[in-house]
Subunit: 347 residues, 2 copies
């Protein structure tokens, strides 16, 4: 029997394709709204926050604008009187109903910011409050772990960054290839079950990545934790190297996420070697041939350049999480203790 989560993973190529088609025509409006602003500030929690990590790197590296992740409590609890008149605020929430995200958008607007909502529900409170809404066309998501709502958010991030870029959107040809690459990875699921088996036998899991795929690493870590109910840490390889690598030993399974090109693959390969030398089993998702060889086990990623690779590289990670949950006798569709619309404060 196929799980709902597996079905929704398989729906992603279609959902991303639909979202890209729907949002491409909004680039002019996005560029117009952004005119006169200098900074992009992302606001989200959970998987949506991981989508924003990608958005942040893509905006900085490809649209050459300062970008950052907001601390929502600065708005919701401290009501800070920050001047945001040169900021574009991008609030991301699948449901569009997470209270603190809506509150932060309202605060930003009152402080002078232009506001964008990225949500799967065009009638939600978040969409109603924003200057402009990018609707992710994921369709209804029934499994609790976000999959197609997450990758369609990544598609929205790519549209946003290419709308802000001063040059013509050079990434469009690669973006157009994303759905096909996602479909191929879903179908082939190469290395996925072997990776799940390794994870099932490990006492401890860490996930590492860096740069444009750092958000992917965080998302795989969060999915593993929430769906498979085990503590997992997601770390950039730089932070891992700075200290926590000291606690890595043969008890650890380390998932390392990389693109096939870009300036961080070499460093990620070194980290994979270092982790193996400390006794860890390393599961490499994506990367180039040298990276794959450096890992104990390789799960191939998409044939896409780094800047758009996150949209498809997460797919084998999702498949691995779904397989692991079943292997552990858990229901991937409704993990213990989680619900679909999350509130972060009890009040």
């Amino acid at each position: 029997m196929t799980t709902q989560m597996a079905q929704e993973i398989a729906e992603q190529p279609e959902a991303v394709s639909r979202t890209l088609d729907a949002l491409r025509p909004l680039r002019g409006e996005l560029a117009h709204l952004a005119r006169g602003t200098r900074h992009v500030l992302f606001v989200a929690r959970g998987s949506s926050d991981n989508a924003c990590v990608y958005g942040r790197y893509l905006v900085e590296t490809h649209a050459h604008r300062m970008a950052a992740l907001a601390a929502p409590s600065v708005a919701t609890h401290y009501h800070a009187e920050v001047d945001l008149s040169d900021a574009l605020i991008v609030c991301v929430s699948q449901s569009g109903e997470t209270r603190e995200i809506v509150e932060t958008l309202d605060w930003a607007a009152s402080r002078g910011a232009r506001t964008i909502a990225v949500t799967n529900d065009g009638a939600s409170a978040l969409a109603r409050a924003a200057d402009l809404t990018l609707i992710t066309h994921a369709g209804r998501e029934l499994a609790v772990p976000a999959t197609k709502t997450y990758t369609t958010q990544l598609a929205a991030m790519a549209i946003l960054a290419t709308a802000l870029a001063p040059t013509p959107p050079a990434l469009d040809a690669e973006l157009a290839r994303v759905p096909k690459e996602m479909a191929r990875l879903v179908e082939q699921r190469e290395g996925v079950d072997a990776a799940a088996e390794h994870l099932a036998q490990s006492a401890e899991t860490i996930v590492s990545g860096r740069g444009l795929l750092f958000g992917t690493a965080l998302e795989v870590a969060l999915k593993l934790e929430e769906t498979c109910l085990r503590p997992v840490r997601g770390l950039s390889y730089a932070d891992l190297r700075h200290g926590p690598i000291a606690v890595v030993d043969s008890e650890v399974a380390a998932v390392v996420v990389a693109a096939k090109d870009g300036p961080v693959v070499a460093g990620l390969t070194e980290v994979a070697i270092d982790l193996r030398e400390r006794g860890a089993t390393t599961i490499g998702i994506g990367g180039d041939a040298t990276f794959a060889k450096a890992c104990s086990l390789s799960v191939p990623g998409p044939d896409l350049t780094e800047a758009v690779a996150p949209l498809a590289t997460v797919v084998p990670g999702q498949l691995m999480v779904e397989a692991l949950a079943r292997r552990l006798g858990l229901d991937p569709d409704s993990p213990r203790g989680l619900s679909k619309v999350t509130q972060t404060d009890a009040d």
Copy 2:
């Protein structure tokens, strides 16, 4: 026999007092350098990064400026052509020799930013490269886990934020009380050994906080991990609530860090109750009376308002880490696999 780490924890009141005295007179120069800038961007790794998390919240909530933590790879690996002409970059490194931090400062300067170094070595590469240096007067730190170099960095953050604040520095009276409160906590060490004993008996540890003390939670998590060689996750209570709380059960010891006042104590108290209801042992550091009562075990914090509380609230956390390391038969002064000056790339 006293460990070096214990000795350096005890030296903090003096070191912070010295640092505040040395940096107070630089406020005019700081304000002058910041003139015309609108954003503060912090750059660091490890404990210094945790100091920057405090700096970020304090600048946003008290100096009313946008502030963010930079992703160094955007500079060092992607060489992004971001316009930083309205940004003040604050690079924090104990040694002042961490290559990626120096490189990021050079990149920021070449992109138009004004640059500040916060370092314990006024002759370091970082200090030489910056427009203005805030020297932390911690003295030489011999134990590998940062203690007095971390709290003196927090003192530098407080000086920076009060220099940027549009109003006269209202926090000065509270800041002046910090060294005495630190000294009291070192001397009394109330609840510290009981907390270490609880942690020694727990299979898994998480640390949570939020807002101005979120960086304190991250620092206690990092210290526990690096010094006691156990995987520890530091999470804001909002992120904890958003998902990872699902994996909390009676195997978990949860350390929750709070100030005696401020808008997040109530939420932290609710989280402490929630964690206990899920079976976790909760160790509360600081907070008000209601918070202390909600925790399984209370470790008193300083009698300081939230905005400056981080300088002293970490002290019982450090004492707890030092006691736990000894309890586990480890040497807190030189944890396995770490060295004092860290490089994040192998090249």
